[in-house]
Amino acid sequence: MKQAFYSLIDFLEDSDFVSWVKYPDDVKDTYWRHFLEQYPAKKPVVEAARQYVLALVEQTGQQLPTEAQSQSMREVIQQHLQDDRRAIPFVKTSRNNWRWLQIAATVTLVVGLGIGGYWYTNQEKPSVGYQHFTKSASPKTALSVARNDDDKPLTISLSDGSSVVLQPGSRLSYPNKLKQREVYLEGKAFFEVVKDPSRPFIVYTRGVATKVLGTSFFVNAPASDQPIKVAVKTGKVAVYSLDPDESKAPEPTGPELTGMVLTPNQSAEYRTDSHELVRGTDTLSTFAEPGTLAVARQSFDFDETPIPDVFQTLEKAYGVDIVYKEPILGKCSLSATLIGQPFHEKLSVICKALEANYSIQGNQVFITGGHRCQ
């Protein structure tokens, strides 16, 4: 046994020895008992080394925080989590966190882009749209990336109250705090944007920027070389080409609507090869295309609709499970037009009507309270 020649320091440096002193068990006890039987002269060194290890363990671990310090760290972290929560997809929350629900006017926007591997991280050179996006975002702002690898839509609540429903295979980059309301999209998504004329909401995509002022629209561009389509559902948007050659092109960040302006049932198409932005004819067919998100096709127009049907519509549109007490709310019904409202606002309106509350955990929505309907 090598330990036969050990000095005190050798024992202290031996991780097996330290482990025996700190966490003795039968196997280790047997080993060291055997060792001491063979080398009884080592007994005093081993005993001294044991005491040293115990003292070292205790004395190197003397600076634990006080409970007050722990509590203060907890609170600071908790505060940050709450600040972030609005921008993080479906973190556990309670209804009273959503103060922005008072904002009424919203804009609905659908942007679809080619999913064929055209993402800035996969490329040597980031797309023009991504360059614009990162240029305008303040360098201090941390970016989050949400990607939907599931086969269901993924709903993201942004800090300004807008919600984005990401189609499977799509990704969205957004600043953690939306000072400028600017996001970058790869793939297809449906935007329900809170109206704020002083801060336009801009969706950057590969070759175009779409500015939302007071309307909703739809964009679709399949593979990387195929055209990008923008179509309006409600409200009003402006679409800009981000082609680098067109240095004269208006900047999308200005307050005015200088790009191609689209109103409901109007659409635009950006041709990647010719860098041309042309006006389309038919929006409705764009929304009806297979593979378009259910949320984009929905009108959310409920008229004496039974609550189970209302919840089912929301579940399908936003990719969530809604948990509620069927015996209590099952016979209730709802009359409301919720088109264009962000997800949380829809839930808020429904819960107000039911005198219920909601909370969200993961992708589950829990409805509590409410009264039995006859």
Binding site: V45, A48, I77, H80
Partner: protein
Amino acid sequence: MANLPTSLVNASDQQLWHYLRQGDESAFTAIFERYHRTLYNYGSKLTADSSLIEDAIQEVFIDIWRMHATLSADINSIKFYLYRSLRRRIHRMQEKYHSDERIDEVADEATTPISATEESIQIEQESRVLLHKRIQELITNLPKRQAEALTLYYFDDFSIHDIAQIMDVNEKSVRNFIHRALTSLRQNRNWLIGSLLILWLLMSL
């Protein structure tokens, strides 16, 4: 933060990591509760500024939460990850990462090993209280990186390999840090016995 469901208190680090990556806040809380105290203890070996330690710990955890979706799936040890993050964070906050470290390392490399025979002559039992007091004094007076290595090795149960990665040095340096610290512990002991003897002589006069 949310109260912990009992199932998570006993969950393995791997399970907690898995849930954290899915955005489970209670797993995040469980990790904080499991490690923030020993992290603080470790941080106190890096800086004496307790508010800096608290800030650094908070930032490490806030970052983990913000990045939970992009965290690597095959992380071997949450603990290792946290310690290394905390160390980097504290050094960055002090902005003196490069200035004093190099010199320190050279000094610590020069080690004279103590031979076993010379040492084994004087193994006496000393009182537990005295030993603890001595080690406590030693640790506060050791060069920072020796105290850091001792803490990671004895209190935090890290292997030499892990300590080397946490401290950003090679394994030989880590062994040297520990060896030098233990050596001064022995030397300091002889000095202390000597001074106690003098004290006793003085008092008996």
